[in-house]
């Protein structure tokens, strides 16, 4: 056997059949197998992605860290606000003065959702009233703006001031995008925030202790 013939045989064994197939057209049987193999590979790849993407979800530890908190409000004077931490969020508890409560009735027409009818952050039934609270003077709300999650700042002083209307009766101003809320956490019209401040589930353990994070069991 000459050298060139040996080379040809080796070539036939190595790459020959492929070029024969190319000349004779597509071997559809092999094509089908290639497609099936690619499909199986894709399914495997997707299946592998599932646990990876799932690992983005909150861990069991993060889920467990949502326990209710107890807050003592006996030292809270009229016109004062305190902030408690519940699930990493600020929860405001404010004792409103009679004048502040009275002002709530004056501004219904300026509010986006005066009766808290929207469903995005449903107001619990026990707070679905004009002062949005169990006891009229004590407001309990999550101090997180429904726009993009900043914590609004106190603007309790009535009257004209920067970023606020001239007939301001006291409330909260979000420093991020200028949304304003009244002293019951109700959002004003034509502001970026669509919803009133969330009222968390809560109840009075005693006259001066509030439990935040749970509704009262019947």
């Amino acid at each position: 056997m000459s050298d060139s013939a040996a080379a040809l045989t080796a070539g036939d064994r190595g790459r020959g059949p492929v070029s024969v197939d190319k000349a004779a057209g597509v071997d559809s049987g092999r094509r089908t197998w290639i497609a099936l193999t690619c499909g199986a590979g894709a399914v495997g790849g997707l299946a592998t992605a599932v646990p990876l993407v799932s690992s983005f979800a909150p861990s069991e530890r993060a889920k467990a860290a949502g326990a209710p908190v107890q807050v003592d409000i006996s030292a809270l004077k009229p016109g004062e606000k305190l902030t408690a931490e519940w699930r990493g969020k600020p929860v405001w508890i404010m004792r409103r003065t009679p004048e502040q409560l009275a002002s709530l009735k004056l501004i219904d027409s300026q509010l986006a959702d005066p009766n808290s009818d929207r469903k995005a952050y449903p107001t619990p039934p026990y707070a679905k009233n004009e002062h949005r609270s169990i006891k009229p003077e004590i407001f309990v709300g999550v101090g997180i703006c429904s726009h993009l999650g900043c914590s609004p700042i106190d603007r309790f002083q009535p009257g004209a001031q920067p970023s606020l209307p001239d007939d301001w009766h006291g409330g909260y101003l979000c420093p991020c995008h200028g949304s304003t809320f009244d002293l019951a956490g109700r959002v004003f019209k034509n502001k970026p925030a669509p919803d009133n401040l969330e009222v968390p589930p809560h109840f009075y353990v005693s006259d001066s202790v509030i439990l935040i994070g749970e509704d009262k069991k019947a």
């Binding site: 993060a62 699930r87 990493g88 600020p90 993009l148 999650g149 914590s151 609004p152 420093p175 970026p192």
Partner: protein, 468 residues
């Protein structure tokens, strides 16, 4: 495989070593020719052409300083803030590495914004450079991701509340938004879990994608060749003997040396900021970020870092009345398309249906969601630029005078939007931002029409070049 080369008899050790290497790794030698010594770039580049190579240099600065920062930084909500202060005070020269990285972030956006503006000026995104532009836009998106994820890492007040706001943007997506935001944060609030994953994105995931895109950007550019201030294709006029473009000069040594001038000027400014004003009046490093993150209290005035503020302004400008303006504009657009478009009956019907659907959607979802759409759309619309521009010439040099005015107004509005994004909300500011937002989108959406209007100048056959 290429022929095996033999070093000539009596060749020096260096020549022998080169021959030895070339025989075993010819790819490197080919790449040097294709991308450096035999890559012919137009000879009429001006100062605008510094910013591409500067962007590459800043990328290297960010990667190198980043590697050293990771050696000392701790991605843990309880330790992160203190570890950054540790780098600043206790790590030898740590302050320099950190300031290089923080100033580098802003410098990156400076050079990239100028680099993109160069593209706008000279039509560098036009055929056949569409993919170069698209890879570039993707790089811009990656940079924004890098900046955002990286900004959480010092765990200061602005880090925390900035992340809170941006992650909540995703919560505005109808139906799946809340779950999406939860998936990004990995917790119900921005927390240790969020910090850890942002660290991972910032130091490995996005940089890998970014590097791949930079390679694609450069390879695609070197395939089609660089544009130039005249918008003339230099490959159209080649030396018949050599096949080299008559107006082309080898990238190396001509532009490597040329770019070193740009690097020198850039480094003077860059190091001056690092040494004398690393916070740059609160624009490069915000003062509120020197306070550790406090989930219970938002700083009285929060604003993103300057490079995000134009888009942030657009987000704030999208209020309920603004959505009504969008409804009006959609109706107007539909009407004009019907009357002036010259479409057939079927298409007209489709336009009416599309217009009505858009109006219905605008009125269905909150302004909050549309604000997010506007913000994202302002970046995404850049990808479409190669197909929006229908001007018969590429370069601004040969476009009608009023195109220059349009581009000028566009730049002014972009700067004004950026300025407003730093300022607290005010009525007049919101109105200005709304006008700016409408102009920004109008500039792009109406470009297929306005870019054809006016008296265009004749484009020369060869580039204009005056030897010094």
């Amino acid at each position: 495989m290429a022929e095996f080369k033999e070093a000539p008899a009596g060749a020096s050790l260096a020549v022998k070593l080169t021959t030895w290497t070339e025989n075993r790794f010819p790819t490197a030698f080919d790449a040097y020719k294709v991308h450096m010594s035999e890559y012919y770039a137009p000879k009429n580049f001006n100062a605008w052409y510094f910013f591409g190579s500067l962007a590459l240099m800043v990328l290297v600065i960010q990667i190198v300083t980043g590697i050293f920062l990771v050696m000392h930084y701790k991605p843990d909500a309880a330790l992160a803030f203190a570890s950054v202060e540790y780098i600043m005070r206790d790590v030898p020269w740590g302050w320099l590495v950190r300031y290089m990285h923080s100033t580098g972030a802003s410098a990156f956006f400076v050079v990239v914004y100028l680099h993109m503006f160069r593209g706008l000026l000279y039509g560098s995104y036009r055929k056949p450079r569409e993919l170069v532009w698209i890879f570039g836009c993707a790089i811009f998106l990656c940079l924004m991701g890098e900046a955002f994820f990286g900004y959480l890492l010092p765990w200061g007040q602005m880090s925390y509340w900035g992340a809170q706001v941006i992650v909540n943007l995703f919560a505005a997506v109808p139906f799946v938004g809340d779950d999406l935001a939860l998936l990004i944060r990995g917790d119900y609030v921005v927390s240790d879990a969020t910090l850890n994953r942002f660290f991972s994105f910032h130091v490995i995931a996005i940089p890998l994608v970014l590097l791949g895109l930079v390679v694609a950007h450069l390879l695609a550019l070197h395939d089609v060749g660089s544009n130039n201030p005249d918008g003339v294709e230099i490959k159209a006029k080649k030396d018949p003997r050599t096949g080299i473009p008559l107006d082309g000069i080898p990238f190396h040594p001509y532009y490597t040396v040329h770019d070193m001038i740009g690097v020198g000027v850039f480094l003077m400014i860059f190091t001056a900021i690092i040494f004398f004003a690393p916070e740059l009046g609160g624009y490069f490093l915000e003062y509120n970020n020197f306070i550790p993150a406090n989930p219970l209290q938002t700083p009285a005035h929060i604003a993103p870092v300057w490079y995000f503020t134009p888009y942030y302004s657009m987000l704030r400008a999208t209020t309920d009345p603004m959505v009504n303006v969008f409804v009006g504009l959609t109706a107007l657009g539909t009407l004009v398309a019907l009357l002036k478009g010259g479409f057939s009956g079927m298409v007209k019907g489709a336009i009416v249906v599309a217009g009505l659907v858009i109006i219905l959607l605008l009125k269905t979802f909150d302004a909050k969601f549309w604000g997010v759409v506007v913000m994202g759309g302002a970046v995404v619309i850049l990808f479409a630029l190669p197909w929006l521009d229908r001007s018969p010439v590429k370069s601004i040099r040969y476009r009608p005078g009023w195109h220059k005015i349009m581009l000028g107004i566009f730049v002014i509005f972009f700067v004004v939007l950026g300025y407003l994004g730093i300022q607290p909300v005010s009525d007049i500011g919101t109105l200005l931002a709304q006008i700016g937002t409408i102009f920004y989108f109008g500039f792009f959406v109406l470009m297929p029409w306005w870019s054809q209007i006016g008296e265009f100048k004749a484009v020369p056959d060869r580039v204009t070049f005056h030897p010094h």
